[in-house]
Amino acid sequence: MIALFLGIVTAVEIAIAYIPDLNRTLLTVGLIGLGILKFSVVVGWFMHLRFENKTMNRLFAIGLVLALSLFFVVLATFSGILAS
């Protein structure tokens, strides 16, 4: 079931990437959205994180959140958003 779901999501992703002259932001948002969906499905069900205790959830979540936020900041300082 879940596998099927993942397969379909991947197919949709690739289809989106190929839609000619699709708006760039829409593409980005769409693909990232689907990526996150797949990600959570694997982590939640395949890895049973949905069913595990809070400690494990938190350990992983901290890693994820930190990874995401830190690198947004790093990239921002480079891309000139912060460098003005």
Partner: protein
């Protein structure tokens, strides 16, 4: 469970399996490992130094190998189910299947790397090349280690060193395997599909 042996039991005082807690801690740490490489890649995605860039990517091909890796997560789940049913034979079959799918994925990566090298995208040609090969290479190394662990698991199970009640280790390898899979989901989306 007597208190005397609790020190070594896998179940901690919080009722959770201590090995799984450790594994999740490790995976949390790995998020930052790959995160840093992905950040490096994003930073350098335009730094092609006059060499080839993302236009070399063969999305259909990589989609297929991504799909292979995704499916290996499924076989891993099946192996885990077999272990929970204490069905050693089935478990070994699915473990082998998972390892096989992992190997296919690696084969695809080797093929992709050779093609890129032939077309002039090398890791010493541009920061883009460096970031691409090192990121996907480290992911590949993780897959390879996963394959080794899966194979070891099969061997140990054959030798009877993987007792049904110690089958927890299948679950741990599974966690690792799924993690490597989701890292690929991220890489595939960010590196290949978005082509930032």
């Amino acid at each position: 469970m007597s208190t005397e042996t609790a020190v070594h039991g896998p179940v901690g005082t919080d009722g959770a399996d201590i090995r799984k807690t450790a594994m999740w801690a490790f995976l949390g740490s790995e998020c930052l490992f790959f995160g840093s490489f992905i950040a490096t890649f994003l930073l350098y995605s335009d730094e092609t130094n006059g060499g080839p860039g993302t236009e070399l990517f063969d999305i259909p091909f990589t989609s297929v190998s991504s799909f292979v890796l995704l499916m290996s997560s499924l076989t891993m789940v099946l192996a885990h189910n077999a272990y929970e049913r204490e069905d050693g034979r089935q478990m070994r079959i699915w473990l082998m299947a998972t390892a096989l799918l992992g190997t296919v994925f690696l084969g695809g990566q080797v093929f992709e790397f050779t093609t890129f090298y032939a077309e002039g995208l090398r890791m010493d040609i541009s920061p883009f090349g460096s970031a691409f090969f090192v990121l996907t290479g480290f992911h590949g190394a993780h897959v390879a280690i996963g394959v080794i662990m899966l194979t070891s698991m099969v061997i140990m199970s054959r030798r009877g060193n993987l007792h049904a009640h110690r089958g927890m280790n299948v679950e741990l390898v599974g966690l690792y395997w799924h993690f490597v899979d989701i890292v690929w989901i991220v890489i595939f989306t960010v590196v290949y599909l978005l082509q930032v």
